[in-house]
């Protein structure tokens, strides 16, 4: 019987090629794709998560592991789709730094984390006006909007964007998460966003939680 712990180990070691070939091997031996995911991949990612919290692993390594996880899931997809317990709709997330602000390192880190965790990300870039956000929401129909601001002068613009989204009747259709060096949990609450994240890695958790609550 194929030893699925080999897959977790390979994931812990962030070895993309190894993970992919082991997953293929397991599939060829007739192992259930869902079992490969739940008993091979997820335990590996859990350990990566724990090691990250303990400061044994850092962001570049977590990104590598997430990429490995993601490429493994791509291989498993056809098999998983037959299992109706697995929801595989691609989650779409819209990101942008608000008008007047051109800082994007934080947003870019969030993008990297989301993409390597299997989300589809549409990045509107920097200096994004409310109109541009709304146009993109109508066109892309994202599940979630993430806004970033670094400056004390640009953070208030987030409030406006959320108001405009409400006025256009689009607020119920998506979740909104905010972040940036100047942003706080209190401020996110004040402007009626659905969530706040202080950094890119926690953003993935927040996004996951927000979208699960549906």
């Amino acid at each position: 019987m194929f030893d699925l712990t080999k897959i977790s180990k390979a994931l812990e070691l962030m070895n993309i090629e190894s993970v992919k070939s082991l997953v293929l091997e397991a599939l060829n031996e007739g192992i259930n794709p869902l079992a490969i995911l739940n008993e091979g991949l997820i335990p590996g990612m859990d350990i990566v998560g724990k090691k990250f919290k303990a400061l044994d692993l850092y962001m570049p390594e977590v990104i590598m592991a997430a990429k490995a996880m993601n490429s493994a899931i791509e291989i498993l997809k056809p098999g998983l789709q037959k299992d109706t317990a697995w929801k595989l709709e691609k989650i779409k997330i819209l990101l942008g730094t608000v008008k007047g602000d051109i800082h994007d390192i934080g947003k870019n880190l969030v993008k990297v984390m989301l993409v390597c965790n299997g989300y589809e990300v549409v990045d509107l870039g920097v200096d994004v006006s409310s109109e541009k956000f709304i146009e993109a929401i109508k066109k892309e129909k994202p599940h979630l909007l993430g806004m970033s601001a670094l400056l004390s002068t640009t953070a208030p613009y987030m409030k406006e964007v959320i108001k405009d989204i409400k006025n256009k009747g689009l607020r119920e259709s998506l979740k909104i998460i905010v972040g940036g060096a100047i942003i706080t949990e209190d401020y996110a609450h004040e402007i009626e966003a659905d969530g706040y994240s202080p950094d890119a890695i926690m953003a993935v958790e927040k996004v996951r939680n927000l979208l699960q609550s549906d």
């Binding site: 990250f52 400061l55 850092y58 390192i105 004390s152 002068t153 950094d199 890695i201």
Partner: protein, 472 residues
Amino acid sequence: MIVKRASLLSNEERYRIHMASLTILERTGIDVHEEESVELLKKGGAYADSGKHIRIPSYMVKNALQSVPERLIIYSRSGAPYLFLDLNQVYFGTGADCPVFRDSITKEFRDFGIQDIIDASIICDFLPNIDFVQPYGVPKDVPTETSDIHQFKAMVVNTKKPLMFVGHNCENLKIILEMAKLIKNGEQELRQQPFFVLLLAVTSPLTFSKNMLEQMLTIAEKRLPVCPASMILSGGTGPATIAGMIAQGNAENLAALVIHQLKAPGAPFIYGQILTTMDMSSNIAVYGAPELYLTNNAVADMANFYRLPSFSTGGCTDSKEMDVQAGLEAGLSLYTSAIAGANLIHDVGYLASGRVNSYDYLIFCDEVIGMVKRIIRRIDLSDDKFSLDLIHKVKPGGGFIEEEHTLRHFREEHWLPKISNRQSLSQWKIDPSPIQERINRKIYEILKSHQPELLDPKVVDRMNEIISTKEA
């Protein structure tokens, strides 16, 4: 204060960094988000690949380095020469625009108000080892759009020391310059006795925003001092290799210099960057990184290589309060930045990686600077200091405490702490006097009794009028 600099980089290493930066400028280029700057660069010989993407050939850098002044004097508000930005002079100043204030006594975190900017200016005016002043935080009780103008006024009224600040935008900068002209007798005197430095933020990697360029061109035209400082986070907005980050930061600084000198040849320019790591767990910009201490030295060395006035960082911590970690990072950063010898060492007193300012840590850092200054003053080994006649007079087995020589010299030769605890153990057991309490008392005393030099009330009224007009 003059320091005998400790170089990190050999001359050849400085040259190699310079060459690496020239390669970046000529091969990779920069994004220039402002039309006049693009035109200036194109006319000057730069290669414009697309609207905003510009590559700069090395002769343009050479020209800029030739025309820029090697040395600047920054004056006090009243026109006294105060900061000599030339070889081996170091000065210390605070950090700007913290979003959060921490009350040293109640330990409460709260928003800044304009009164805090006023209080901080008074404290900085008092502290002997703070040489230039930045706005302590972002005041939430004034309109957001004009908070920089309010900050400038609060500082200039409450301290005579030179200022450094970041403007929101070009429009506000012009208003601040109007106010500055009032304080001096017009533009001519302001140009000849500048009492502030405009700090501008570069967007790394290799990007100049419209806002930054508009402000830089405005201040260049007025021939007032500017410091377009990159802040690069290694592994985030710059390479994970420190050498790469240095080359990139240097390239960004040189590119800014090229545009600046094309606009106004000979206008005053201060070289400097903040090159540190991005924490790979929390993603913060690390203010207590040993890599920052190294790059401060590299930046100072490059400034020396180019013969430019310079800017670096010290007296800051990632700790959220004045604790052991904060103490360590104050000590290490202030000592290393002082012997590295960049002219303007900023961010003194910053807590929580620049998100929190609190008077207790500022006063603690002022004390540390005093100690550092004593070290960089080194040892006076002039002949008479050997005091051979005195040693002979006192004789083997004698004592020095009653000697007039001791009375005459101890204050000069020994650093006398104002905060550090030097009680004997038994004294301490009777009266522990924790450092936090001693500092808190000092904050209270300074704010109660320090009276900064007053500004002409007519000038203050005029400034208020200017602000009201803008906000109407």
